[in-house]
């Protein structure tokens, strides 16, 4: 073969397996999800065009609205809590300390563990009869609760567990962000008589804005896709009090096999994530461009 032609084929040859797989399982499904969302999907094959009716049915369903509200609550609590804990622990662990690596490792460890395992442990800790939490409450003379079977406490327990499991991820990113702040800024601030408190608000926090933006957006996207722990710990109950968006999509798609409607719901989820991400970037960005 002509050597020039041969070198021209080479990159395509290297790319072809990835492009094939991504085309079939990542790119095509995006287009197909749109297509499906405008159709009623029959189990035995075939589809009827029903325009926007899937979307209307999704948006009008009480279950979807409840799921949207619960997901929103979950986000609005877990994202800020996770970001604050991540920043706090990163600040603590950015100082020269003994056993710093150990502490960092301990905080990061739950991030690496499967959600199902974490969810099973917490289900057991908050179990109605013999869990440690109720044992402690009884010892303190407080009425025990059925945490995960109670509308008022089920979602908060799931939130608490999720923050506990996930904030080590943000901590690692914050630690890297802290490395990029030049030490001379703090020296100059000390010379000018700035207190550690002032240094934090005037130097550390503003210079960490890009990191905060990244951690917030990533956590937010993750929080809107919460599923595993809800599925394992409560199954969306009691009632619909812990049903979240992905759980709703799961039920519609794989329990009721209403694939078109499920696609419509998934695309609504996609839109929300996209919208909020854009908003967050718009609102946090201007501050990061402030001159020093």
């Amino acid at each position: 073969m002509n050597p020039r032609l041969k070198t021209r084929i080479v990159p395509y040859a290297f790319l072809s397996p990835s492009v094939l797989l991504l085309g079939v399982f990542a790119l095509y499904p995006i287009g197909f999800a749109f297509y499906m969302s405008f159709h009623r999907w029959r189990i035995l094959g075939g589809a009827d065009f029903i325009a926007l009716r899937n979307y209307l049915r999704v948006l009008q369903s009480d279950e979807f609205r409840m799921a949207l509200w619960n997901t929103f609550l979950y986000s609005i609590v877990t994202v800020p809590a996770g970001v604050v804990l991540a920043l706090g622990s990163a600040l603590l662990l950015n100082q020269p300390l003994r056993a710093r690596g150990f502490f960092r490792g301990v905080i990061f460890f739950p991030v690496t563990i499967a959600m199902i395992v974490i969810a099973l442990i917490w289900t057991w800790m908050f179990s109605e009869n013999y869990g440690i939490v109720n044992h402690v409450l009884i010892a303190l003379g407080i009425e025990p609760r059925s945490w995960l079977a109670d509308r008022r406490t089920a979602l908060p327990v799931i939130m608490m567990m999720s923050v506990w499991k996930g904030f080590g991820y943000g901590m690692v990113i914050y630690l890297a962000g802290l490395q990029t702040i030049p030490g001379r800024l703090y020296e100059a601030a000390r010379v000018d008589g700035a207190s550690p408190w002032q240094q934090f608000w005037k130097i550390t926090l503003p210079l960490l804005n890009p990191t905060t933006l990244f951690v917030t957006v990533i956590s937010f996207i993750g929080s809107f896709q919460v599923f595993d722990q809800v599925y394992v710990m409560t199954g969306g109950g009691p009632g619909y009090s812990t049903t979240v968006l992905v759980h709703y999509i799961y039920n519609v798609a794989y329990v009721r096999f209403q694939m078109g409607k499920a696609c419509a719901a998934a695309l609504v989820l996609f839109l929300i994530v996209l919208l909020f991400t854009a908003l967050q970037i718009k609102f946090i960005r201007p501050q990061t461009e402030e001159p020093l």
Partner: protein
């Protein structure tokens, strides 16, 4: 000030470690002791780990998880580095288009693609198969992005020199590029393994027969039995995280590096 930091850190570590400790002590209790308020077992039943493991075909689930994860890692490393090589070291028609199409797939939540992929798998007879479990959700887009960045920093002169010495393109890729990219491959390999080992929703959706269950699904089904005993459940849960825990202890640095690379890509 320092003392306060240590106090805070020790408390925090306690909060982070306690659930794992509780999992361990629960696993070592017998049925009568589980219900009791004491934290530690009166008698340590270490045999529970073995007993629990044998209650379900957990060895099979473990083998499934290991097989699936290792294949996922191998494929991801190989395919991403090939594509990353092409995108970073060649110029060709359609290059930008292909790269942006790959990046675009990263933006879309997997719940969107999961439904069409379920149908695709059903048409290709891949439901309830290992192939269907592994292939659709390989982290290729992320891998290609990572490898392209990393390979971009390898000097072109090095590649030219190898070409002048008569090395073919395949040889340049396998004997020059791959060894140079070891750090990036380690990060990508660990992340792919972790993702695959811990994956929950996709196997939940496509697996049917217990013989194909991965550990997370095996654990889920075990936990859903109506007379589930928490000592046994905690014992197998603990055993299921051993591989990841070992990997984490050995490669903690790569875990952290991986997150840092992905976190600071902007």
């Amino acid at each position: 000030m320092k003392a306060l930091t240590y106090v805070l850190l020790v408390l925090l570590s306690g909060v982070m470690l306690f659930p794992f400790f509780y999992m361990f002590v629960t696993a070592c209790k017998d049925e009568a002791q589980i219900a009791r308020p004491e934290l530690l077992p009166r008698q340590w039943h270490f045999e529970n780990f073995l007993v629990a493991w044998r209650k379900e075909p957990f060895t099979r689930f473990l083998a499934n998880s290991a097989g699936v994860s290792l294949v996922a890692v191998t494929l991801t490393l190989l395919l991403s580095s090939m594509a990353g090589f092409a995108l970073s070291k060649y110029r060709f028609a359609g290059q930008r288009l292909i790269f942006f199409a790959i990046l675009a797939t990263l933006m879309v939540p997997r719940q969107v693609t999961m439904i069409p992929n379920f149908l695709t798998c059903s048409r290709l007879f891949l439901l309830d198969t290992y192939t269907g479990l592994v292939i659709p959700f390989l982290p290729l887009a992320f891998g290609i992005f990572l490898m392209r960045q990393f390979m971009g920093s390898v000097s072109n002169e090095l590649i030219e020199a190898a070409r002048i010495d008569g090395a073919g393109e395949l040889r340049i890729f396998s004997q020059l590029m791959l060894p140079l990219c070891r750090p990036a491959l380690a990060v990508l390999g660990i992340f792919t393994f972790m993702g695959s080992w811990n994956e929950f929703m996709w196997p939940l959706v496509i697996l049917d027969s217990p013989a194909k269950y991965t550990l997370p699904i095996g654990l889920l089904r075990f936990s859903q039995q109506y007379d589930i005993q928490y000592n046994y459940l905690m014992a197998v849960s603990l055993l299921s995280i051993v591989p990841i825990a070992v990997l984490f202890l050995v490669f903690q640095r790569s875990f952290v590096e991986g997150i840092t690379i992905t976190g600071l890509k902007e």
